[in-house]
């Protein structure tokens, strides 16, 4: 069975190590904060200028001056710091943020990512996505393996305008965990009950399938 959004988020959270600074994009990536294992600590970076983002506030804690990059009201954890946007992107571009998790429309075998613009549709802007993919040490893309018409999002070459080039190495989809290496997608794990044939059928770019592909633990 394909993973739910929550299960993808659960699998993403397994990538984090104790002491990691992590930036989570809007959508599935944000959900990963709910599944950080209890025995490790990670600190969430929000690119508008907050390191140590906490949960959404209670009604009593609501503060118009405390928001995250998705413009939602949030709190700060003990040990958080708040800074200006240039400082925030110095952390990001300078490679100080350990992990970035973000969604995408397409990823290709060269590690290129398209996530911000569909020509001839309304273009809203890239926000911080281009800086994030240019800077983080490890980037995880989360997305469904295929779009709602069944078309693969893992391509030989991206067709949409890019967000970044040669920057993606790891993808977690509803069907699989893949690594990008030497111009191919390497299948590392598959969702419980999902066949290798289904993953092959829904991966348009070159796919390398090792002898042993374990099921994800979610």
């Amino acid at each position: 069975m394909a993973l739910s959004r929550e299960q993808i988020a659960m699998r993403v959270a397994q990538e984090f190590k104790d002491g990691d600074y992590v930036n989570l994009g809007i959508g599935i990536p944000t959900l990963a904060a709910n599944y950080v294992p209890n025995d490790i600590e990670v600190m969430l970076q929000s690119e508008n200028g907050l390191l140590g983002m906490g949960p959404n506030p209670t009604e009593a804690e609501l503060d118009a001056d405390m928001i995250n990059a998705g413009k939602e009201t949030v709190t700060a954890i003990t040990g958080a710091s708040i800074f200006n946007s240039a400082e925030s992107f110095a952390m990001i571009r300078g490679g100080h943020v350990d992990f970035t998790v973000l969604g995408a429309f397409e990823v290709d075998v060269f590690g290129n990512i398209a996530s911000w613009m569909i020509p001839n549709k309304l273009i809203k802007g890239m926000g911080g996505a281009m800086d994030l993919v240019a800077g983080a040490k490890n980037i995880i893309v989360t997305m469904t393996h295929a779009d709602k018409h069944g078309q693969s999002k893992l391509l030989a070459q991206c067709t949409l305008p890019l967000t970044g080039v040669n920057c993606i190495t790891r993808i977690i989809t509803d069907l699989a965990v893949l690594e990008i290496l030497d111009g191919a997608f390497y299948l590392r794990e598959r969702a419980p009950g999902v066949s290798i044939d289904e993953i092959k059928a829904k991966t348009a770019g070159k796919l390398v399938v090792p002898d042993n592909v374990p099921e994800m633990q979610v």
């Binding site: 929000s46 009604e59 413009k71 009201t73 200006n84 571009r93 290129n112 809203k124 802007g125 970044g164």
Partner: protein
């Protein structure tokens, strides 16, 4: 006004000198930390043909969005403009120009502008539409594009507190772009929640030193929340 005292008593005085076709840099992220009263004053003045540099363009009826109503903005330089139906309409009708700029690049362009650095190289945007037509260069085997600094005729800033000399501190994430924007204006105007006497803010806690600030005005703020999300409404584990 005497010496370093930068406090003005009216919005008209605060924005005096703003004329058509100027470039205005505005602090704020979403509706957080925006100079509400200064924006409303620009609307009142009906200044036109403006180039506005700000991460976002407010919402339809609040923040920079109010300047769209009478088509006062000619060009917007932003990283994300998706919150605004009027913006979309004017963009599609060709009445408004937009230069989409990655968020970190936008912050750095303001910082560079204020710091006397005309341009800088960044990996952000290389190989994407943002890098098209820009000079590129390799450093240590990696590709970078050259991005130019931004300066404004005016910078409009929201701070939490300023003293009469223009030394400012910001509150929480309302800091965002404000400190960089403050350095990049020929005329920098700060709207604050509290004006205090010099010395009340400890010198080492000042975010924006008064040297960058030309005018300070006591504001009154609505501080609207764009996306109110409370703990009860989420499904946190």
């Amino acid at each position: 006004m005497a010496g370093f005292d930068k406090v003005v008593s009216s919005y008209a005085e605060a924005m005096a000198g703003l004329t058509d076709n100027m470039t205005v840099i505005a602090g704020g992220f979403g509706l957080c930390g925006i100079p509400e009263g200064l924006i409303n004053q620009i609307k009142l003045m009906q200044t036109r043909g403006l180039t506005v540099v700000s991460n976002n363009c407010g919402v339809d009826d609040f923040g920079l969005g109010v300047l769209l109503v009478d088509k006062q903005i000619k060009k917007m330089i932003s990283s994300y403009v998706g919150e605004n139906a009027l913006f979309e309409q004017q963009l599609l009708q060709g009445e408004l120009e937009v230069e989409l700029t990655p968020q970190g690049t936008l912050a750095e362009k303001m910082r560079a502008g204020g710091a006397g650095i005309p341009a800088f190289y960044t990996a952000t945007g290389y190989g994407t539409p943002v890098g098209e037509g820009k000079e590129s260069r390799q450093f240590n085997g990696r590709d970078y594009i050259l991005e130019e600094a931004i300066n404004g005729d005016f910078a409009i800033i929201k701070a939490y507190k300023a003293d009469r000399y223009g030394n400012c501190i910001y509150r929480h994430t309302a800091q965002n772009f404000n400190p960089m924007a403050a350095t990049a204006g020929k005329m920098t105007v700060v709207e604050v929640e509290h004006i205090v006497e010099p010395g009340e803010i400890p010198p080492s806690q000042i975010h924006t030193p008064g040297i960058y600030v030309d005018r300070v005005i006591q504001g009154s703020f609505e501080k609207r929340i764009e996306r109110k999300v409370t703990a009860a409404a989420t499904t946190r584990a």
